[in-house]
């Protein structure tokens, strides 16, 4: 696929932006654990995982920039809060450790399902990147599956906090697979090898089995809010203020 028509290019741009914003915003939220995680090893681990996610976001913004002739840094830092397209799952502050672990567990598996599918994308630059990212994400999956079991078996308090967080985040986690306005174009062009709704149910099966194995309740409500990627919160607006503080301090600077 060398030349994309305008419609396909715009659709691909929408997909890349959604994926990049997921990684970017979650990377910033969890980087807040640096220095204050429950144990020293987790300071290092969360920092490393967050650095991976910001790195993935950068690579995706660069693919997008190449496609549309924009500047990757401007895309990352130059938009107002309402211009971001992350899933509603990333609208929450980091809250407590169990909440952050619950979110990471739900997101890492959603991202894994998405990347597995995109590894066979007809848009080769995206397929190549997905293949590379999957190798790194394997370590995230191992780590957060382990933390899920650790908190589930850790005692009444950690177990209750974890269950409540999963229950609370479940509806917003669905929105990682919220339909894109131009999704049909992507499926037709084989850029997206499967519809997002197919991926969502694969993800529900997978996390459901893992929750069951950890003796945790599996939420039953599978409702999906279609506006999950355009809804924003005060908490996100605050984070946006934090991560654009430096770039916004001198709008015309070259970094």
């Amino acid at each position: 696929m060398s030349e994309l028509d305008r419609e396909t290019r715009d659709a691909l741009a929408e997909l890349l932006l959604a994926m990049a914003d997921d990684e970017f915003v979650l990377g910033f939220w969890d980087s807040e654990w640096t220095g204050i995680a429950p144990i020293l090893e987790e300071d290092v681990a969360m920092s490393s995982v967050s650095q991976d996610e910001i790195g993935h976001a950068k690579a995706l913004y660069e693919l997008l920039a190449e496609l549309t002739g924009q500047d990757a840094d401007r895309i990352a830092f130059g938009r107002p809060p309402e211009g971001y397209r992350h899933a509603a799952l990333m609208n929450h502050a980091r809250t407590d450790w169990a909440f952050s672990i619950a979110r990471r567990f739900l997101y890492e598996h959603a991202d894994a399902v998405r990347l597995e599918s995109l590894a066979t994308s007809g848009y080769q630059p995206l397929a190549d990147l997905a293949v590379k990212m999957r190798r790194e994400e394997t370590y995230h999956l191992l780590h957060f599956d382990l933390w899920l079991r650790r908190l589930a078996e850790g005692g009444d308090d950690s177990r209750a906090r974890l269950s409540e967080a999963i229950e609370r985040l479940w509806p917003d986690a669905q929105t990682v697979f919220a339909p894109l306005a131009t999704e049909a174009v992507l499926v037709d062009a084989r850029i997206l090898p499967e519809p997002l709704e197919t991926l969502r149910w694969r993800w529900i099966d997978r996390v459901g089995a893992l929750l069951k194995a950890a003796n945790l309740p599996v939420p039953v409500n599978a409702h999906l809010d279609a506006d999950g990627r355009t809804r924003h919160t005060e908490e996100f607006a605050w984070l946006h203020g934090e991560f654009t503080m430096v770039s916004g301090s001198e709008a015309k600077a070259t970094w």
């Binding site: 190549d128 293949v131 990212m133 780590h143």
Partner: protein, 171 residues
């Protein structure tokens, strides 16, 4: 013996072998296996262009830009123009580290990564609970943290020589 002039590409590879990894200076970029291809080709402006393809170890590796700069500076005299492009056309894997590179890692206190083989299926990567201690060779070691001070490293402890040490992750 007949003296054969080295090919121009081999001169480039030799120059690249002098550049150290910015984060682990014990190993060169060539032994790390991050150089995929070098080629002389006609440049767009009429001169000659030296094109280098660089494979990032990790997508988010912050050393990539430093590597690019070092490569461009080191090769500047070998062509009218030097272009260093990042490529993901095939993923860099830790299996690309050369035998000499693995030995250099070990000699500087890093356990080299275990070999993965070509059959990555999404679940075959893991940080093993034990690594061979690069200081004393003991296997009486434990994994302390699958994440370390840079994206590519894990942290272990050796119960025999009582040293913490780092291992390069299989990726």
């Amino acid at each position: 013996m007949v003296a054969v002039a080295p090919s121009r590409e081999s001169v480039v590879w030799k120059a690249l072998a002098e550049i150290r990894d910015p984060e682990i200076p014990a190993i060169s970029l060539v032994d790390l296996g991050v150089i995929r291809r070098v080629a002389f080709e006609p440049g767009p402006a009429g001169g000659e262009r030296l094109s280098v393809e660089l494979m990032p170890t990790f997508v988010g590796c912050p050393a990539i830009e430093v590597m690019r700069q070092q490569i461009a500076e080191r090769l500047a005299d070998l062509a009218d123009e030097v272009v260093v492009d990042l490529t993901f056309a095939e993923p860099w894997t830790s299996d690309r580290i050369s035998p000499a590179g693995r030995e250099a890692l070990r000699a500087s206190g890093f356990a080299p990564p275990v070999m993965i083989g070509s059959t990555f299926n999404g679940e075959s990567l893991t940080v093993l609970p034990i690594a061979t201690c690069p200081y004393c060779g003991s296997r009486n070691t434990t994994l302390e943290n699958p994440f370390g001070p840079t994206l590519c490293r894990a942290i272990y402890h050796c119960a025999d020589c009582r040293q913490p040490f780092e291992a390069f992750k299989p990726i």
